[in-house]
Symmetry: C2
C-alpha cells in the first residue's frame, strides 16, 4: 500500500495511523460506509453496505445504480467508515470531544464480471453484515446475479483516526461544578420481528439473538 499526503493525518497526528491492522479492524467493526466520488468538481457521498477480504472492499447494488456505474469507470474513490464509542463531556464547551474510530480508504473500483467471483463477493458482504446468514437463504439465481453489480475496490492507500480515553480539561476548569465524563454509546439489536408469512415451525437462528455491534455507528 502506498502513502502520500492524500492519506496523511494532519490534525492531531498522534490520533492517526496508516497501519493496516488498525484500519482493517475499523472496517470490520462497521457495516455502513460512505462512498465518495467526483463528477467534474462535484462530490457525491452515498451510504452503502460493504464487505472486506484482505485489502479489497466489495460493494454491490442494482445494475442500474448510478454510483456503481460511475465507480466502475475507475474514477478515484474514497470509502470512509466511522463509529462513535462515546461522547466526551468536558467542563468547558471547547474541550468537548468524541471517542471514535474512523478509517478512510482511497482507491479505485472494478466491476466483477465472473459469476462465481461475484457470488463469493456477495457472500462476503452478507457475512460481514450478519455472519451465518448466507448458508441459510436461497442463493442468487443466474437472473438475480445479472441484475446485481458487484465491485471490488482495491485499497491503494488508507488511514485511520482514533480518540479514546477520558475527558481532558484545562487545569483551571477542574474545579467547576460541572458534570464531566463519558457517555458511552452502542448499537444494539432489539428482538427480531418475524415476517407475517413465516413458515410454521421455523425458528430464529442464534446469530439473530446475540447480534451485537457494540460501538458501531
Amino acid at each position: 500500500m502506498i502513502s502520500t499526503m492524500r492519506s496523511k493525518v494532519r490534525r492531531i497526528p498522534e490520533r492517526g495511523t496508516q497501519e493496516w491492522q488498525v484500519v482493517s479492524e475499523i472496517f470490520d467493526a462497521c457495516f455502513l460506509a460512505s462512498v465518495g466520488f467526483c463528477v467534474d468538481q462535484q462530490p457525491f457521498v452515498i451510504p452503502t453496505l460493504y464487505g472486506r477480504k484482505g485489502e479489497t472492499l466489495y460493494l454491490h447494488g442494482s445494475a442500474a445504480s448510478r454510483m456503481l456505474k460511475q465507480l466502475a469507470t475507475g474514477v478515484p474513490a474514497c470509502v470512509t467508515v466511522a463509529l462513535v464509542d462515546a461522547l466526551v463531556l468536558a467542563r468547558s464547551a471547547f474541550n468537548h470531544s468524541m471517542n471514535y474510530r474512523s478509517a478512510v480508504a482511497f482507491g479505485t473500483a472494478k466491476k466483477i464480471m465472473d459469476a462465481d467471483e461475484k457470488n463469493r463477493a456477495l457472500e462476503i458482504i452478507s457475512e460481514h453484515l450478519l455472519a451465518g446468514r448466507w448458508k441459510e437463504v436461497r442463493p442468487p439465481s443466474e437472473k438475480e446475479l445479472k441484475a446485481t453489480t458487484v465491485l471490488s475496490f482495491a485499497i491503494e492507500e488508507c488511514s485511520s483516526k482514533i480518540r479514546s480515553g477520558p475527558v481532558s480539561d484545562d487545569e483551571a476548569d477542574y474545579e467547576l461544578p460541572v458534570w464531566a465524563g463519558l457517555l458511552p454509546l452502542e448499537i444494539k439489536s432489539l428482538r427480531p420481528i418475524p415476517d407475517s408469512r413465516l413458515s410454521a415451525g421455523v425458528e430464529e437462528s442464534n446469530y439473530l439473538l446475540d447480534y451485537d455491534r457494540r460501538f458501531q455507528c
Copy 2:
C-alpha cells in the same frame, strides 16, 4: 432550494424524495455526517459532527483543519447522513435489504467570521448532539473561539431516501423453511462514566440519563 439531476433519486425513485420536511427530519435524527469534497478529481470523505438551523448546516473544528480550510474556499461540497433502522432478512439472498433513512445535501460552505455568530453556531452544534449541555458548561473564551473554525453550509439542493416496512420475497420463496423478518437496530447510551476528578456533589443532568438516539446510525 433548487432541484437538478444532481439530487434526483434514480434507483427505486419511490423511495426517494426531495421534500425538505423529510430531509430535515433525517438531519435532525443523525449526529455524524460524512462530508465530501474534491481536490482535482480526488474525492475526500471525512466524518464530522454538525448542527442545523433552517436550511443551514454548521460544521466546526480546529482552525488548522484541512477539510475546513478546503471547504471554506467555497468548493462544491456534499454532506450525507444515514441511519439504519433494521436489517431486512428475506428468504433469498437477493431480497435482503435494510430499513434506512438517508439524506444528501449539496451546497457550499462559508467561514463564519463574527464571534457572536460563531458562538451561536457552536451552541447549535452542541445542542444538536446533546440538548441541555451548552448552558451548563464554561462557554468558549475569545482565544478558544479564535482556535475554532466554524462553517455555515447553505443547503442548495437535497434529497432523501427511505426504506421501511416488512420483507418482500418472491412469491415462490415464501414456503422456504428460512426465518425471515426484521432485525431492528438502535443506538443506546450506557451508564455515564464520571470523570475521576469530578467535583464533589456534582450530579448527572437528566439529559444524560435518558439519552436516546433510537434508530441513529
